[in-house]
Structure formats: structure tokens, C-alpha cells
Amino acid sequence: MKPTDTADPRHYHRVVDCQWGCPAHTNVPEYIRLIANGHYTESYLLNRKSNVFPGILGRTCDRPCEPVCRRVRLDGEPVAICRLKRVAADLRDDITGHLPAIPQRKNGRRIACVGAGAASLTVANDLLPLGYEVTIFEKLARPGGLMWTNIPEFRLPARVLWEEIDQILDMGVDLRLNAPVDSLAALLEEDYDAVFIGSGAPKGKELKLPGRWDSEQVHIGIDWLESVRFGHVTECGERVLVIGVGNTAMDCCRTAQRLGAKKVRVMARKTKPYFKASPWELDDAIEEQVEILENHSPSRFIVEEGRLVAMEFDRVTWSPGDDGRLRATVHDTRVIECDEVILAIGQDTAFPWIERDIGIDFNRWEMPVVDKATFMTSRAGVFVGGDAAWGPENIIWAVEHGHQAAISIHAYCEDRPLTDRPPEGMNLVSQKMGLHEWSYSNDYDEAERVKMRHVDLQERFRRLDIEVEEGFDIEQTLTEVERCLNCDIQTHFEANLCIECDACIDICPLDCLTIARNGPEEDLTRRLTAPLLNYPEEPLFISEELPQTGRIMVKDEDLCVHCGLCAERCPTAAWDMRKSDLLVPYAGLGAGESHPTLLSLAMAGAAGEAAAASGAER
């Protein structure tokens, strides 16, 4: 097999599973180490650079990082990455001085964003420091998009939401509230250099069954949550059925609990393995005594004299058909009495306001065709990101779309080709501090994942805005940070130094290492010290030929706990522990660059004044 090019940032990036799994490539191990050292502000700022909304995401992120966390493969439970992010947000100092300074003199470019959600706010966050003028059009009375309308306050306190949104708005966004865009053609007529569409997926899916429109008691989940958020809905019936088992359904059923419902049931067509909701959101709903009924396929609404009294379901079981797809067998029907039904079976994008004759191609699902890399539509200068681009995802994806779209918009405005994406970079620095001392906590900590404490069940139902999760205290935090394996502290190998003493192979607790004759992939991968479990998703490191015998060093990156013992037992420092810092480019910022902040400018200014003063004295 060919030697691995470790100078290519992608190899070591892949080893950092959480960062690889995060759409925005948040540098998780580094921010966890900063928390461990009590540097909460620095940790928050590191987060903010990539994911923009650490406080919000520390409570609401869908955590693509956690299922891929190496800890899952070792002891079954990921590091509580998401909730540690919240620790940084909770304990940080004021960061005003650390935010990018916004130039007084603008660059003359004007950008319009449609929808004031995570994607548009990220575009504004990235472009304002470059001197752009950004206008955001929002149809509702408040910004935030789904972060505001659809995430209940018992999960995301309003002060956290507004603080992080204000950080961006205060950079000088021209925010137009209650300003729905009815015609993209008209918007394009105005004097904007580019338009970004971050209008989300605001249309809840319908359940077109008999009786659907015969009463006032059937609601679309996301619309209902929005009404609750704006205070238009303040109570609900005693018996509530929520149709669907996604994360929106979880928010709906828990909200209903707080609005006075006595019996809330979530109706699922299939069984638990097929539920769309994240496992932790399911757990939280179950903790609040929401009942989840499996294998109930809705068949009709039963309405008597204009009032919904019940719903009828087919009770089904599922078995795979000839094509492998599951098919339902109906056994009997069941009528479940209810006072209200909330439909949470998915949501769609909606573009009635985009004319079909202005050069933007639409696909057969009535969605604009968007380039996966540049985020531009078939009409130059019109970009799409967030849920509006390819349907519902989650906040962290919207943020990453915003970053990429901002890079494209910047290139577009500067007349550079959009397809030339700025390359990622990498810093690789040895962490050796002494003969057998490293700059990080290298021992494997067997602690179990810390459990989040929740507000008492009775207490939390008193009001809608009591945050259920209490956050980690210091002791919980210090336990949880030690579970992180520091996957970014890489085992870096220099083949020319190796004397093949086998010390690293003997000491490796996970049998990751092999010295063997090289060979074709299917042959070499069968001759390793321990069998491969997750190859090729988890990469192999293949060294150059070793000087003494011409064999090669192979490392299976899958289960390495980054304990550094290979490097400690290596007599020639052929193995070294090096921190790989992935340098991610942003709009106007090459890999590793950052904007001047108010604080850095102030300090430079003070230094300049001091120098001038001392010069004058002489």
C-alpha cells in the first residue's frame, strides 16, 4: 500500500472523529482542553469561530460529533461534547472586545439575505468584518428563524438566544423585521450585489386524511410551536396526540405537557429503531412521562359536530417486501380519544415567492438547484443555504452552509472563480514537555459519561420557560473533560528514525501497530496485529519503508486512545505526539488567519501611542 501523506491536512483531520463529523469542523479536543484548564472564554471563542452560536448549540445541537466519538467504540458512550460546549458558554466572560472589529469604511458591496435564521446570520457574521453591508429580510417580528420559533424555551432560554443573535446584529446588520420577501425578482431589481436565501423549510407536512379540516383542533407542529412562542397559544386540551416521532414531535409533546395537557401520546407508525428523533430527545420526553405508541398508522380524524373527539389508527406490523422495503400488515383498528392533534411528520421548503422565469432552475421537488460546493443557484449572484438548500437539517449544517456561502459571495463580489475553494491548512506541533511528559492529559480515564442533571419533574412544568437541563457543575465538568481522548494529539511517525525494536507494538494497549512487509491492501490488512473493525471509514497510517529491514509501520487509527505510550517507549523519537491544528479558511480569511478584534486594535493603538510618546520624550 502507498505511504500515507500526513502533510495532507485530511489524514489527521479524519483521525479527529468529532471534528471530522462536525459539519463546521469545530475543534472539539482543543476547546475541551481549554475548558479543562479553566479558559472558558478562549474555549467559547474557539467554538464561535467555527459554529458561531456556541451557547445555542451547546443546548440544541443535533451533535453529529457524538455518535462518531472514539469513546463510543471503546466504552460505548461518547464524550458529552455538546454539553461541554454549554459549559464554556455558561462560564465565559464578556467577549465584546474579542469580536471582529467592523471597518468604518465599507467596501461598497451590499448583500441581501432572506430569512433571519442561522444560515443568514452566519453569512452576516462572516461578511460584515470584511466591510460588506448586509440586509436581512425577516417575515416574522423577531429574528432567529427556527431557533426562535421552534425550539421551546425549556430547552433554549431566550437570553442565550438573543445574546448570540445580538452579537451578530450588533456588527451592523440592517435587519428588516415583518418584511417578507414576496418576489425574488423584485428583490433582484434592487441594488444588491448578491442575494442569499436562508428561508428555511417553513412548511409543515400535511396529513391528508378524512376529517383533517373538519375541526379547529388539528395543528401543524412547527406552526403550533411558533404560536406558542409568540404567546398566541397558551393552553391546550387534556388529551393530546402528537403524530410523528422526530425531534419536532418531541418538542411538541413536551410543550403540550406544559400547557396543561394531562395525557400526551406520541403516535409512531413504526418501531423504536425507526424513530427519527435523537435518542437523547426521546429520553427526555419519556422522562416527562410522554407515552409513545408504536405501530399505529393514522387512518382518520373522528369529528362530531365540529369537534374532534378521537382519531382512528390501523394497528400494523412491518416486514420487508421483495424489494427490501418495509411493508405494513394491518391487524385491526383502534380509536383513541383526544382533544387535540399535533402533526409533526416533517417539513418542506416553500418558494412561492421565487419566480420560475428569472434564471433559477428548480428540480422536480420544486426546490432550487443549488451547487453543493459553491451554494450558488443557476442564476449568478443568488445563493442558497440552510434548510432552504436541500431540506431540513439542523443548526450546525445551516452554519456551515453560511460559512461556505459567505466564501462564495466574497469571491463572487471580487470576481474570482467560485470553484477555487480556499484550501485548508494544518499546524503540527510536538507536545513533548519532558522525557516522558506531554502537554496534555494522556492517561486513559475510565470514568463513565457524566449524566446531565434535570430540574425536578413537578417544578419544570410550572412554566414554559424553565430550562430543564441544569448544565454541568465544575466537578461534572472536570470528570467529563478527562474522558476526551485528545484525538488531535497525533501519533506522528518518522520512518527514517525507526530501529524496529518493537517497543511501540508491545506497549500499545489497543494493538493498533504492526511492522510488516508491505503488500496489496487485501493482503496487508489481513496481517495486522489486531483485526480491522472499521476500515476504511477509520483510516490506516502506512509508513515509508523502515531503514533496517525495508518493512513498513502500519497504524490502525480506529481505536488509538492517544495515550502517547508508543512515543514514550520509542528510543529514537520516531514516534512523537504532535498536535494537529486544522486551519479552516473563512470568507476573506486564509487558513489560520483571523480578523483583528476590537481588543487587538485597542492594544495595538495603545502600543503605538506609547511608542509615539516615548519617542517624543527622547
Partner: protein
């Protein structure tokens, strides 16, 4: 010295032997030897061999003398019996242990300094007595623990780290053991576990004295240019003279060898060693020819390795010439003998003394 222990977390696919133990269960304490020491590789090979042979750690007695090698039994089989004796006296201690309990699997780890200088007399006599043990010499040509003076196994012309050249003739433990009548003589290299592990297994299963001299480079004091016990020198002059596979009892001897290419020697417990790729005129059961062959390879500058000599078992599987056979000891461990048998009383003592009057 590492400040952390080897984490107990292990590969989920780690195999268990019939005792339900993983290889990790055969480990000992964290090594405090220099990073890259050949001894640590030998330790790893010993762990592998015991695990593969499915020997319960508590049935093992591990003994050693003084020196870097003397520390190594701490690093394997933490549940085994252990004794770290005085310099060069490991053979006596092992002899005593085995005399008292022949059910113990005895492994003694020594070094070239421990065995070939201060312990030379002990070494010679434990070979003569044919004590049922595996005797490992971790051979690096220097006294590592006292900063790298030449040991008795250093070759003429070998250079020390600071440039001095050794002029004294080396003692070769393999030739010595062949001369003294050892029934199992091997040489291997810490950097070649593929060869070392099967030899260790065969040595543990051989009934009687088994010597394995393992070239084990001292990374700190004897791994430089001019040394004849460095990783580089050993690899450059390495000759795997014979390939030996260990075949446990009740296993079919693989028929994959070309006829005439392989030769099987039975051990006392029914297991066997299959030699392959043996040079045409080499006979691993002919002591004199083996001796001559090794001398010849040495003269041509090669380090001849492999299971060089093994005495075939008698027809009945026994070994009348081993320590217990010669001494006529009781078969059961002394701890299981009745008190009256072990201490027959004042009358018996008086009777015995009477015989000498």
C-alpha cells in the same frame, strides 16, 4: 520511565484462550527499562507464549538474578510466583523451587552478565542437573545497569559506546550448553517474535533444561556502530538457520510441507516441533554436528538463530535423565506430602545418624 500505566482498555476483538484469559491478563507491571530495550520485546514474546500455551499464571514460577534482565519478570505474569535472587544465583533458586514442586512451570530470566560471569558456575550446574526449566539469557553484551561495561559475551573487536575495543574472548552460551549436555538449545533475537514465540513455547513444553539465548540489544549502551549486538548488526548478520514450528499435543502436524523439506521431533508431553527449511546437512538432533555447524556459521560472521538442538523424547515420552529422574524425588509437590513423611521424627533421625557412626 512512563508516568502512566498501560491503560487497561483493550481491543474489543481481543481473543481469549481456553482459560478465558486475554493476552492482556498475562501482562505484569509497567516496564521501567530504557525505551526500546530488547528485554521488553522478549517480555512481550513470553506473554504471548504463555497465553498461547494456555498456562494458568498461578502455576508458573518466574525467577531472576541481578541486572536489567533481573527486573523483567516483574513485567509479565503478575499472578505468577516470583523470586528475584542475588546476582547469578537464579539457577539455585529455581532448582529449589522445582525440587519442592515439580508441577510448577519454571521460567528463569537471566542476562549475559548474570549467567556468564558471576553466575557461570551456577549456570553450568543447572544445565548438568537438567532441571526442568526454561532458561532465558537476555544477551546484550554489556552491563547495562552499570553503564555499559563489556560482559563476557562481548565479541572480540566489538566497540563500546565510548570507543574501547573488547579483546577478551567471548563465552558463547549456546556452545557451552551444548557441551554441558543441554537437551534443548536455541538462539533468537528480540526483534524477531515470529521466530522467538514458537521457540519459547517449545522450550516451556520441553521436559528438562531448555536454554534460549536471545540477542537483546541494549539501546542505551550497545546499539551503536561497531557494536556486534546492535539492532542493525544483528539484522545485517542474521541467519535464521532453522525454522521451527511448535505443534501442541493432539494437533495434526500440518501436511503442507514438501516431503523431505520438513522434519518432526516429538517432545515429552506429546507435542512436537516441526523443522522446515533445514539446510541439507543439518540435523537438529545430532549434538556434534550442530556444534560444528554453529562454529562454522560464526566463523563466517553470521548470527545463527533458531531452535538449534533438541533431544528427542524417549519412546515412552519420559526423560530418565532429568533432575527428578536422577534424584529419585517424590512425584507430588512437597506441600501435598503428609507431615509424617516430610518429618519422620526423632527416631528416624537417630536411625539415620546411626548409619554414619
Amino acid at each position: 520511565m512512563s508516568h502512566i500505566r498501560k491503560p487497561r482498555v483493550h481491543h474489543p476483538g481481543l481473543a481469549r484462550n481456553r482459560l478465558g484469559l486475554t493476552r492482556r491478563d498475562y501482562e505484569g507491571a509497567m516496564s521501567t527499562l530504557c525505551a526500546g530495550c530488547g528485554h521488553d520485546s522478549i517480555t512481550a514474546a513470553i506473554i504471548e507464549a504463555f497465553w498461547e500455551l494456555e498456562i494458568a499464571p498461578h502455576e508458573v514460577a518466574k525467577t531472576s538474578g541481578i541486572g536489567c534482565s533481573g527486573k523483567t519478570p516483574t513485567y509479565f505474569l503478575k499472578e505468577a510466583h516470583g523470586f528475584n535472587g542475588v546476582h547469578g544465583r537464579m539457577p539455585s533458586i529455581t532448582t529449589g523451587a522445582h525440587a519442592a514442586n515439580r508441577d510448577l512451570v519454571c521460567i528463569g530470566v537471566s542476562g549475559d552478565g548474570d549467567s556468564l560471569s558471576i553466575g557461570m558456575g551456577q549456570f553450568a550446574h543447572v544445565v548438568r542437573r537438567n532441571v526442568d526449566m526454561l532458561y532465558i539469557i537476555e544477551n546484550n553484551g554489556v552491563y547495562g545497569l552499570t553503564k555499559g561495561q563489556f560482559s563476557a559475551s562481548a565479541d572480540v573487536g566489538s566497540k563500546a559506546k565510548r570507543g574501547q575495543v573488547n579483546r577478551e574472548h567471548p563465552i558463547d552460551s549456546v556452545l557451552l550448553a551444548l557441551n554441558l549436555g543441554a537437551g534443548f538449545v536455541a538462539r533468537s533475537f528480540s526483534g524477531d517474535k515470529e521466530q522467538l514465540v514458537p521457540i519459547l513455547k517449545a522450550g516451556l513444553r520441553h521436559r528438562g533444561f531448555a536454554l534460549i539465548d536471545v540477542i537483546s540489544p541494549c539501546v542505551t549502551f550497545n546499539d551503536h556502530h561497531g557494536s556486534t549486538k546492535s539492532y542493525q548488526y544483528t539484522r545485517d548478520h542474521y541467519n535464521r538457520l532453522v525454522y521451527a514450528d511448535f505443534v501442541p499435543p493432539a494437533h495434526e502436524i500440518a501436511a503442507t510441507y514438501e516431503s523431505g523439506d520438513a522434519r518432526t521431533v516429538k517432545l515429552h508431553d506429546g507435542s512436537a516441533i516441526t523443522f522446515r527449511k533445514v539446510p541439507g546437512d543439518y540435523d537438529p538432533t545430532d549434538r556434534d554436528r550442530v556444534y560444528g555447524y554453529i562454529r562454522e556459521r560464526q566463523r563466517s560472521g553470521e548470527v545463527a538463530t533458531g531452535l538449534l538442538y533438541v533431544e528427542p523424547a524417549l519412546e515412552d515420552g519420559g526423560n530418565a535423565s532429568d533432575f527428578h529422574g536422577i534424584q529419585g524425588t517424590v512425584p507430588e509437590p512437597l506441600t501435598e506430602c503428609a507431615f509424617e513423611d516430610l518429618c519422620p521424627g526423632a527416631d528416624a533421625l537417630a536411625k539415620l545418624q546411626g548409619r554414619f557412626r
